[in-house]
């Protein structure tokens, strides 16, 4: 296999692993907080429904966390297996957050084990809830530390290269690089948002499938509320991310926005197609939009692609990834806002079939937005693996067996993906919530139905 092929297959394998892992990772970061909130509400209101909600989410969560852990281990090792030259450099400069992540993960794993096996073991339920705090913290900090490494790839800091040698290394400066604040905040908040909307989709789906139990209604209301809050957070942070890009990675923003000429009063281009001579057609154009996004000033100058050599411009299809991610985010914020307004004003249609189907659709859409976002982040950095320092083509392995490994890992992800869905479905189908509420009612001797 030639080196070009090794680079190509390494990219495909990394992309496959990340695309698969990120589904489980996002759920893994977001759901513990949802469980915590549900259990807390349950204890405060003394409402068995919320407690059971937390308990059932926790059961499903274990399955997704298992797949998240093993695919996370896979990507962790694949970084060294597929990008050895990059990891040699990264090891010298950005190993610290990677190392911290293992501790966060360790912490989460330990307390998750305890939490799962101590239901009803404590007299005081608040003690049990306390065990969940390290789980949620560990999960969130895993995301924080790993995203810091990704931020470093976009805005490498904390070292100098003199005659090919790394000097003046400062691990902390590398961690707190300019990309870090917006990136970390964006990843964490969208994980919460996605988890909330995925759980909302499940509740809406149960309601559509014949169960009219108030349990699902409570679940839907709670998750839509949380989803709304986090989607507003995501929108605000998204705005800051635009400003970060304009200042530190202008080529990424320009490529995402098909902004070819450096101009002031730049317009924001939505969708559209690109002709062969880079003319934008059929697009919705918002005057001053890009200038506002980039600098909060409609007259600001925004750097265009004309300022960059052609071989350092990322592929222009990232425009669609960027747009779709933003559209889905906006749509989910709107949908949850309408739902909450409807609850408040007692609009009937929010309990109608079509509206519930929209909420169900929101689950997969949110996951898709996460995928679009990561593809945008990664493809938008091309051709660099470490911006301005190392190109992807220089970082890859020279091994000749990457194509075979790609096939094997694809099969693995298929087995894991199908397996996790089958197991989750069977788990909840065998033990429907009505039955479980009956059981708990019998056990506790008071009305929990």
């Amino acid at each position: 296999m030639g080196n070009e092929e090794a680079v190509f297959f390494s990219r495909v394998l990394t992309e496959t692993t990340l695309s698969f892992h990120i589904i489980y990772a996002t759920i893994g970061v977001g759901v513990p907080l949802m469980i915590m909130i549900a259990q807390w509400v349950g204890i405060r209101k003394n409402d068995e429904h919320y407690i059971l909600l937390a308990r059932r989410w926790a059961r499903g969560f274990v399955i997704t966390v298992a797949v998240g852990v093993v695919t996370g281990t896979a990507i962790g090792l694949q970084l060294s297996l597929l990008w050895p030259n990059f990891m040699e450099l990264a090891g010298n400069v950005i190993a610290l957050p990677l190392f911290m992540e293992t501790f966060a993960f360790f912490f989460e794993a330990i307390f998750l084990g305890i939490y799962l096996y101590t239901w009803d073991r404590f007299e005081n339920q608040k003690k049990h809830l306390l065990l969940l705090i390290p789980v949620a913290l560990g999960a969130a900090f895993s995301a924080v530390f790993i995203t810091i490494v990704n931020a470093f790839m976009n805005a490498p800091r904390g070292f100098d290269i003199v005659n090919g040698e790394l000097v003046n290394i400062s691990p902390l400066l590398a961690m707190f690089n300019p990309a870090m604040p917006t990136k970390v905040a964006h990843v964490v908040v969208t994980a919460f948002m996605t988890a909330a909307f995925v759980l909302a989709a499940i509740a809406a789906f149960r309601l559509l499938r014949g169960s009219d139990h108030v349990y699902h209604k409570k679940a839907l209301f709670l998750t839509m509320k949380l989803g709304f809050i986090f989607s507003i957070g995501a929108a605000i942070i998204g705005d800051f991310s635009g400003k970060y890009l304009a200042e530190y990675q202008p080529e990424k923003l320009a490529a995402a926005e098909w902004h070819f000429e450096t101009t002031d009063k730049a317009e924001l281009i939505l969708m559209g197609v690109l002709t062969e001579d880079n003319e934008v057609k059929y697009a919705l154009k918002i005057p001053y939009g890009l200038s506002i996004l980039a600098a909060n000033n409609p007259f600001a100058e925004v750097t265009g692609l004309d300022q960059f050599p052609e071989d350092e411009v990322p592929p222009l299809y990232i425009h669609y990834l960027f747009n779709l991610m933003v559209f889905i985010g906006m749509w989910m914020a709107l949908l949850s806002a309408i739902f909450l307004l409807g609850k408040w004003r007692e609009w009937k249609f929010i309990a109608s079939k079509w509206f519930r189907w929209l909420i169900v659709l929101g689950g997969p859409l949110s996951i898709l937005a996460i995928e679009f976002g990561w593809w945008f982040a990664e493809v938008g950095r091309q051709p660099w693996i470490l911006r301005d320092i190392m190109k992807v083509s220089e970082a890859a392995t020279t091994s000749g067996q990457v194509d075979m490994m790609l096939i094997l890992f694809c099969l693995l992800y298929l087995v894991l993906g199908v397996g996790s869905v089958v197991v989750l479905r069977r788990m909840f189908r065998r033990n429907p919530v009505e039955k479980e509420l009956e059981d708990r009612h019998a056990m506790k001797g008071r009305d929990v139905r």
Binding site: L82, F106, P134, Q401
Partner: protein
């Protein structure tokens, strides 16, 4: 002690932790699957699942810690090992993924699903075999530099008796460690039937383990004389290890003090493992990589050590909590309360 030695000692300790908890874990999964074939599942499954359930995820972390740590402390390993280990480690990863997820599928999703149990039982047993190849490769001679890039010679690797003795050791040691631990655990759970069956497994796998270990030293003499002569410098450690082995087998054979039997076993493996590690010094990969020429910069090394100490302050109390709740809590071990979500 310099930072290089401190770094490798920390990593070696985590690898040792992984080998011990991993062996217990993987062996238990295998015995569970095996009991399904032989119809002894009634005896074994309960006690095995009682132990495994709350800790499976923790096992994995030891491994992650090791490989993240080695890239942090010794970044050059990424270049040499990263390039050459693509195939063996990918196989290990696939097995690990199947093992971890199907374990969870069986335990939390469909209890008692035979297909899942076989899948994770078998995958678990093959993980030590596939990962142990890294140790073989570290002995050198299997990697050549072609145009400045390291290339692994598969043919030589898979026809070398050294490779296969290490594979055999990894499998038999896994079953041995696991059986001894579970004998103790079952005995603690007052499950005498399971304890007696597991004791028999432990005795069965004790001697193959010792023979395979001896075989490796013999192969090294032919294959890597430099390492072999270093091993001789550490003979007291290997002697102590052997005496501890004798002690374990004696206690098991006379059906006494299973707790001590496991403690001695842990000592046996610790002495052998650290003895082996010390005799490997200073090489990470013969003859290309030593802990000195691959070490990271001082700024990174110091910050890693600081984070490590802070991390331990967080982890050690949590690990103690886990042990108190599940390993040393009589009611839990005996299965008196089931508090699973």
């Amino acid at each position: 002690m310099n930072l290089e030695i401190l770094g490798i000692t920390v990593l070696w300790t985590f690898l040792f932790g992984y080998i011990m908890v991993g062996a217990i874990d993987f062996g238990a999964g295998f015995f569970n699957a095996y009991s399904l074939i032989t119809g002894k599942q009634r005896v074994l499954t309960k006690v095995i699942q009682r132990y495994l359930s709350p800790v499976w995820e923790i096992t994995n972390v030891f491994l992650v810690f090791f490989f993240v740590g080695i890239i942090g402390f010794f970044p050059k390993t990424a270049f040499y090992y990263g390039t050459t280990l693509l195939v063996p480690v990918s196989f290990g990863l696939i097995l690990l993924a199947i093992r971890g997820s199907y374990y969870a599928f069986e335990t939390y999703g469909s209890r008692g699903h035979k297909g899942y149990s076989f899948m994770y039982g078998l995958a678990g047993l093959l993980i030590p075999a596939s990962l142990s190849i890294v140790l073989t490769i570290s002995e050198g001679g299997f990697i050549e530099l072609v145009d400045g890039n390291p290339v692994l010679d598969y043919w030589k690797l898979f026809t070398s008796p050294l490779t296969w003795s290490i594979v055999v050791l990894s499998i038999s040691a896994t079953l041995y460690i696991s059986a001894v631990f579970l004998t103790w655990y079952a005995n603690k759970a007052r499950d005498l039937e399971a304890a007696s069956l597991l004791r028999r497994y432990a005795l069965t796998w004790s001697f193959p383990t010792m023979i395979a270990a001896g075989g490796i030293i013999y192969e090294l003499k032919k294959y890597q004389p430099e390492h072999y002569s270093n091993i001789q410098n550490f003979w007291p450690m290997f002697l102590i290890s052997f005496l501890l082995f004798v002690g374990t087998v004696f206690l098991l054979y006379t059906k006494r003090q299973y707790g001590w039997a496991f403690t001695l076993l842990a000592g046996q493996f610790a002495f052998a493992f650290y003895g082996y590690g010390a005799s490997h010094y200073p090489y990470l990969l013969y003859p290309y990589l030593t802990i000195y020429d691959s070490f990271t910069n001082p700024a990174m090394a110091i910050s890693l050590v600081v984070v490590f100490i802070l991390g331990l302050c967080l982890l050690i109390p949590s690990l103690i909590l886990v042990m108190r709740l599940f390993l040393f809590d009589k009611d839990y071990v005996r299965g008196k309360g089931d508090y699973h979500a």
